[in-house]
């Protein structure tokens, strides 16, 4: 059934169709409607779930950890400062190997106070052991929640679904709501082998000496490596079931492109529009949209960038004193595999719009250079 809905409601419907059993969340702009709609759905008894009202995001994740440990499918959603407050428990969820799914609506970090989008909130959680899927449409958001539970429960690692504030969260698009019966065939109930059981009590997360701590970290890394294969397999499986496909990266006209723009989130759709415009004028430009941050799709990135003469990573985030964060990731994947010059542009922080013209200006600037003469370039800054 096709419906017009905002990105935040696409998340709520994704969670409902996934038959989540526990929802614990604290409201924060621009995430609020996600849990608002979920609370209505639960109150109307259209979803058999516990809705736990908590006093902070730290508690929201703690409740999800408890629920997931007991074998329930747990869900939450947050943004920016809320995600930062969860930080300690993000490590706990991943280290305890709990397949929790959370939506993070990318909101720039304060100060200065802001509610608009950029990716520094989610990218700051890169090393917590959460998979991260960056979405570019409301349909992808809904589908990703369903797919996330499938992947998470297979490898026992949590997933963060990431989408841009306002340009997706509050933007209305046509979304195909899959039939519940179809979702049920794709996503079986969560059967957690290690769940808490009063008849067979165990202690979890207890003190572990240097003799064994590292082995648990090896297991997390192996799970993440395994997850990459499962995500690729599930892309095919999902397409078979629902007719829509989501690969770790999405290449657009990269094969013969001299310049490839590497982008993520809604800024990637804009980049494709700009690529079309530039192609009409005979410019060989392509786009590679990054969907996965973790596990990182090394092979796909190398494959799709192998013909490029210049790689341009446009980051809606920054690691102060270094590059944009996607630039670090992509450069690291290319090192030793390619000698292609890599340019890094920082654009659209704090929700400043990234227009097709922004990309056209970037490409024109890159065309004049053989290789970068700065570590990064700021886009449209008032100087």
């Amino acid at each position: 059934m096709k419906k017009v809905m905002m990105g935040n409601h696409a998340i709520s419907h994704g969670a409902t169709l996934s038959r989540v059993q526990v929802i614990a969340a604290y409201p924060i702009t621009p995430q609020t409607q996600v849990v608002e709609l979920l609370s209505e759905i639960v109150a109307d008894q259209k979803l058999k779930a516990e809705f736990i009202k908590v006093e902070s995001e730290h508690s929201a994740m703690a409740a999800c950890i408890g629920a997931s440990s007991a074998g329930a499918r747990a869900f939450t959603a947050t943004s920016a400062q809320g995600l930062a407050l969860m930080h300690e428990l993000l490590h706990w969820a991943a280290g305890a190997r709990l397949p929790i799914v959370m939506a993070d609506i990318n909101r720039a970090m304060a100060p200065p106070w802001t509610i608009w989008t950029d990716q520094n909130d989610s990218l700051s959680q890169r090393d917590t052991g959460w998979m991260q899927f960056y979405c570019q449409s409301n349909q992808e958001v809904l589908d990703s929640v369903i797919m996330a539970y499938k992947v998470a429960e297979k490898v026992l690692m949590p997933v963060m679904i990431v989408l841009d504030a306002f340009s997706l969260s509050h933007t209305y698009e046509i979304v195909d709501l899959p039939d519940q019966a179809l979702v049920d065939t794709y996503l079986p109930p969560f059967d957690y082998k290690y769940k808490l059981n009063v008849n067979d009590p165990h202690t979890y997360g207890g003190l572990t000496t240097p003799d064994w701590y590292m082995e648990f970290r090896v297991k997390m890394q192996e799970a993440m490596e395994q997850a990459l294969g499962i995500i690729k397999k599930e892309a095919v499986e999902f397409e078979k079931t629902f007719g829509r496909r989501y690969d770790p990266v999405e290449p657009y006209m990269v094969d013969d492109a001299d310049i490839v723009l590497v982008t993520s989130g809604t800024a990637a759709s804009t980049a494709r529009f700009a690529v079309d415009q530039m192609r009409k004028k005979g410019k060989k430009v392509g786009n590679l949209r990054m969907r996965l941050l973790r596990p990182f799709p090394f092979a796909d990135v190398r494959e799709h960038l192998k013909n490029a003469r210049k790689v341009v990573i446009v980051d809606r985030n920054i690691s102060y004193g270094y590059h944009g964060i996607w630039a670090q990731e992509v450069k690291s994947a290319l090192y030793g595999h390619s000698k292609v010059p890599v340019f890094n542009f920082i654009a659209g922080l704090g929700g400043r719009d990234i227009f097709p013209e922004t990309y056209i200006d970037i490409v024109n600037q890159v065309k004049k250079m053989k290789k970068p003469d700065q570590e990064l370039y700021w886009v449209e800054v008032k100087r």
């Binding site: 280290g95 305890a96 290690y194 009590p201 165990h202 202690t203 997360g205 648990f216 297991k219």
Partner: protein, 97 residues
């Protein structure tokens, strides 16, 4: 509960569960060894109200024949039971050397 204290030795990664999980309940892992003060209950004044039993954060008070009994394998000597006891019949006594 019977306390199975058989030592379990792992040899390699593959034998471990994915997360840190004790193979038995905490009953097999006594944690009371760092206590400095221990609660001593004067049962003559005890009114069997169960408040100490309810408040013990480590479930280290057993209820036996309608009396509280401190489980010294797990009691860490925090003194919450003594603080909460309405009859003040629990005294915190220094552990001997």
């Amino acid at each position: 509960m019977a306390k199975d204290r058989t030592k379990i030795d792992f040899q390699k990664l593959e034998e471990l569960p994915p997360m840190v999980q004790s193979l038995r309940s905490m009953a097999a892992n006594p944690t009371g060894s760092w206590r400095n003060l221990k609660p001593v209950i004067d049962l003559a004044n005890c009114i069997h109200c169960t408040i100490c039993w309810k408040f013990c954060p480590d479930a280290a008070i057993d209820w036996v024949d309608d009396n509280p009994v401190i489980n010294l394998d797990f009691c860490k000597g925090c003194g919450i039971c003594a603080e909460e006891c309405p009859k003040k019949c629990i005294e915190m006594v220094k552990e001997g050397k």
